[in-house]
Symmetry: C2
Subunit: 248 residues, 2 copies
DNA sequence: CGAGGGTTTGAAGTGCATCAAATAGTGTGG
DNA sequence: CCACACTATTTGATGCACTTCAAACCCTCG
């Protein structure tokens, strides 16, 4: 399969692009290309003029900001299927965060001006983008809330729950998607704190830890422990997509 | 002046509505009304089906969420000129937070379905809404960052700076817009912590406290103290509007 | 003047960060 | 297949920031 066909297939299935006119979609495909970035490579930097945006195909991309005094705040770590930099069109054409590949990662690179003109010309696309942005905002809201009201063990519990298939509450076995220290950073805590907090969670909810594999024996108990300090009941739909929405 | 004319004048000047077709604007005005809510009154509750959205005319409105275990996370406290509930159109027609009047407050109440149809029918309106949502998101981003990377005295300093006219760096005298304990909650800390942190800030930057009046003698020093732990340089444009964008 | 809020101050506790060191895991070249 | 080097993770000890609980203070307003 040629690269163009591959890109076409993926974009067609994406919520943001599915409302695109076929002719516009062809344009998107024509001006896009698949890129591969190595672990640790920077994709773009906060405030840099934005020319292109991206969709993750495989691997993981870390979104973050750096303060003047050098510390780093991680905004999110995106799996396959997620867009990054797409909101720059409305942000003065500057990237609102920096992005770095956490491991070898493949992405589709798409010109922003094309997105801009499609939004301007096609009301359906504008509408899709509005829903998309609202969704991103909801996730951001939840993220903020978690940081403020949940303590470290609760945040980990919440993270684990989001990694499960949230339909059923039976025992589940989970693989951490990336290094523990990266999970820690993602959850806004130090690796040492993560380690200790995970032990506490084990005490409190009876889960089992085996390297990067975690067995949830008592999901109900985990929910009670973690979701108490949250404004929404357990199957937190908005966040589910965060970890599981994949293109492939 | 009649109520309708008053509403018209205000909406015309608002960034979101200025692109409205005159005929649509007339519709908005016809179906809107000015309401007055008392201190402590709840305007709407998180997750409640959303029928109307609001623009603050005077007073203050607190946006917040409550966790299952009862604690409250304050999202923002809106002054005149700000919209609330307007994004519900894209949020499953549910309010994404609760809203309460902090004091006697006047608002314009506008039907959401009107907003929805105007966005669907008028590309300019859709575009205005996209920019609006991007702006809201940027502010939210900054809020998140502050909570994570700034300590209590720095957050207060940052809050004070946002209350000043950010053009000039000369000495400034500020009135806290509402009770200290509310400012504390707004900044995500306890009243006691606020009190102590403000004293520390006084030590560190030489400001003077007099009840709810605060004199900034050395703005430069305050900037250096507060903005070190932030990803953006001082005149933080996105946030300025937050405290000062008024309709009147 | 006295009641009741908001605010400050004190003392003690908690949670997380930091620094330091031990341990486990992983991949490499021999 | 083993030994080594290197990294990720855990564990321990200590410190700091913020919270909590309690009491005093202060201000305003009936």
């Amino acid at each position: 399969m040629g690269e163009s066909e591959a890109i076409l297939k993926i974009l067609e299935k994406s919520p943001v692009f599915e409302n695109c006119e076929p002719t516009s979609l062809t344009q998107f495909v024509a001006q896009s290309n698949i890129i591969s970035v190595e672990k640790g490579q920077i994709l773009f930097v906060h405030e840099e003029p934005a020319k292109r945006f991206f969709m993750v195909l495989g691997g993981w991309v870390k979104l973050f900001r750096e303060t003047l005094d050098g510390s780093q705040a991680i905004i999110d770590i995106l799996p396959a299927g997620h867009l990054l930099g797409e909101t720059s069109v409305f942000d003065d054409n500057k990237y609102p965060y920096s992005a770095e590949a956490v491991e070898q990662t493949k992405l589709i690179s798409i010109p922003l001006n094309l997105l801009k003109s499609e939004i301007d010309d096609n009301p359906k696309m504008a509408s899709a983008m509005l829903y998309h942005m609202a969704k991103v905002r909801r996730q951001q809201d939840r993220e903020l809330e978690h940081l403020v009201v949940q303590n470290a063990p609760q945040r980990i519990g919440c993270f684990l729950l989001r990694l499960t298939n949230q339909r059923e509450e039976g025992p589940a076995k989970i693989q951490l998607p990336y290094d523990k220290s990266l999970v820690a950073a993602r959850l806004g805590m130090q690796p040492e704190t993560f380690s200790r907090a995970l032990s506490k969670l084990k005490e409190a909810t009876g889960l089992e830890i085996n390297g990067s594999t975690i067995s949830l024996n008592n999901v109900r108990q985990l929910i009670e422990f973690s979701c108490a300090a949250c404004s929404s009941e357990f199957p937190c739909k908005d966040l589910k997509s965060k970890a599981s929405c994949a293109t492939q």
